[in-house]
């Protein structure tokens, strides 16, 4: 039982991170029907910038730890927001009326450019996250959970809640939903689609930055290549929940995290050792295929009318 509970904890932590990144994919898809493959790289940049700021401030000694941490997180979010804005302006806006395939290829191009830029700035080596957070471990019915894990899950939930409020309760959210339904009609109603789309990219990038910081703090390291796999998993999570659907991305992310954890933990015993944990990813993507076969629009559906 304690092992099962531990796997649930593992899955929740992993899932909250996937969910935060998945939101960025789903929001952009909801409005532009574009899969922003550079999103995983924005996550990576978030982690990298935070580490760079911490490394620059901490050895000086004059900056208190909390201030340094706040500056690191704030700086990373700011850089990623600007990056999101720049990506939209430079790579996607000129192609908004172009065939969808063109935009997809551009997205992959942007992703490669970002990856290599990060490699030039931070090098090919792994960068380690400074030991600023003192890890405290709590035991709960035999399962261990650290203060960092609790922070990750709570912060992710809080951010998701804030996003839901933004999309469904604010003026900007209404404009986003209107643009998603019909950009032309929304424009006629006085909504400026360009600024709404830019805002979508900025919000998505900010969430990605937070997720990137979480990943690098949790695993203790960051690497210019790490955005690729994270992005792929988060994209799968978005599809799983129903791409274009904000609540779906959250559900899909957490579900994918749980499936991965439980799958890797129990696939061996369940199949009598025939399949091992080497099928961890196969298991996760198999669930994705099943969902797509039986519910092609994802678990919660695309909800075209209300997507944002």
């Amino acid at each position: 039982m304690d092992i099962f509970l531990q796997q649930i904890v593992n899955g929740l932590v992993l899932g909250s991170i996937y969910a935060l990144i998945a939101l960025g994919y789903t929001m952009v898809y909801g409005i532009l029907e574009l899969i922003n493959f550079a999103h995983g790289e924005v996550t990576m940049i978030g982690g990298m910038v935070c580490i760079a700021i911490l490394q620059a401030l901490l050895p000086a000694g004059s900056v208190p730890l909390l201030v340094a941490l706040a500056l690191g997180v704030g700086g990373a979010i700011l850089v990623c927001m600007l990056l999101g804005l720049a990506i939209e302006r430079v790579a996607y806006r000129p192609l908004r009326r172009a065939p969808r395939l063109t935009a997809l290829i551009t997205a992959i191009g942007v992703s490669i450019v970002l990856q290599n830029t990060a490699m030039l700035i931070w090098g090919k080596q792994y960068v380690s996250f400074p030991d600023v957070i003192e890890i405290k471990r709590y035991e709960f019915v035999g399962a261990h959970i650290t203060n960092l894990q609790i922070t990750i899950v709570l912060l992710a939930l809080l951010l998701m809640l804030a996003l839901l409020v933004l999309v469904y309760r604010t003026r900007l959210g209404r404009a986003m939903r209107a643009t998603a339904q019909s950009p032309d009609l929304a424009a006629l109603m006085g909504v400026n689609p360009n600024s709404v789309i830019a805002a979508t990219f900025i919000i998505g990038a900010a969430l990605a930055a937070v997720a990137g910081i979480m990943v690098s703090a949790y695993y203790g390291l960051a690497h210019y290549y790490m955005g690729f796999l994270l992005g792929l998993k988060a994209f799968s999570a978005a599809v799983l929940g129903g791409i274009g659907n904000v609540a779906g991305a959250m559900l899909g992310g957490i579900l994918l995290g749980l499936v991965e954890s439980l799958g890797a933990g129990y696939i061996g015993p369940l199949t009598g050792g025939f399949l091992g944990s080497n099928y961890q990813d196969v298991f996760a993507f198999f669930v994705l295929i099943l969902v797509l076969v039986f519910r092609p629009s994802g678990l919660l559906g695309e909800r075209v009318g209300e997507r944002a």
Binding site: Q7, G11, L14, K124, Q125, Y126, L221, L229, G265
Partner: protein, 394 residues
Amino acid sequence: MYSKYLNHALMAVLITAAVLTACGKKNEAAKTASGELIVKIGQVSPLTGPQSHLGKDNDNGARLAIDEANARGVTLGGQKVKFVLLSEDDQADPKTATIVAQKLVDAGVKGVVGHLNSGASIPASKIYFDAGIPQISPSATAIKYTDQGFKTAFRTMTNDRQQGRVVGEFMVKKMGGKRVAIIDDRTAYGQGLADEVEKAVKASGGELVAREYTSDKVMDFSAILTSIKGKNPDVLFFGGMDPQGAPMAKQMRSLGLKARFLGGDGLQTPEFLKLASAAAEGVTASSPGLPIDGMPGGKVFREKFNAKYGVIQNYAPYAYDAVTAMITAMEKAGSAEPAKYLVELPNIRFAGVTGEIGFDTKGDVLGGAITLYRVKAGKWEVVETVVSGSVPKK
């Protein structure tokens, strides 16, 4: 009509000219302005991706040996030669490895130092064998690499059979590990080493309670570690590299998994200490060969290397010795032609940085020591060195 024929004729002339120049390039040995013969030597390792720090290390080790040979001035058959290093990036990927191997063969290299990973070295070795070009890997330890019957495949690193045996016995007999869990990263290196450790553990009377798998791209091991925790092992061995080993050590701590953590040479790096920080404490790792300070030429090598490239990650001395072995055989044969110096490679003996270098009939390095290290106060400290035999003199 006439002009069309003229066009065709012109085209034919152009194509012939192009083919002729291409042929000419291939047949005529390239020379420098001062009349030195240019000998190209290939180096392949992952220069991008998660293992690029190790790849660059091999590249630097080989480059140092090449630069020194050029500074010393090597004469082959009365002709002064200049060595040129052609470095290629195989991204630690078996498919890319074969592509860059073919690229080097086409570029006319006389020998190849590499690849870094066993998984890349094995498929590439077929291409070098077909082209008759000697290949010396400084770091591929998988048994299969020299077990394929390719007379072109050599290595300056001890293989996994020896390393696995030493680590497996050490875990059971010296660390009191009765219940053993093993994880590998499903690469030729990780899996091969883990398989050998498993055999040695069973032979020494230990019990294998879990065998789990991961990949060389992921950072999250909480699921498999939790599953392992349920089986209560005394020791956990990971066959893989430091980018996975470091977060694994950290996650063991946060999950409260108390088993002692061991790894192979993929973990025994300065990078591991940096990435795992506090969680590195007490981790044990084996490494083929001697500690750098115990190597006959270790101190001098480190000084030269530090001055030029900074900290040695791991395999640089072995890459250096691989290049030296190649040049030594060329000097003995009096030629840089692969067919001529290949037959001399099994006959050479010289004092390399890592020890007395010589190859057996399979291409494995003779002798070969395995050293066990443990992290103490943030540093790798030697626990013990097991020497599997001395190098017979010829």
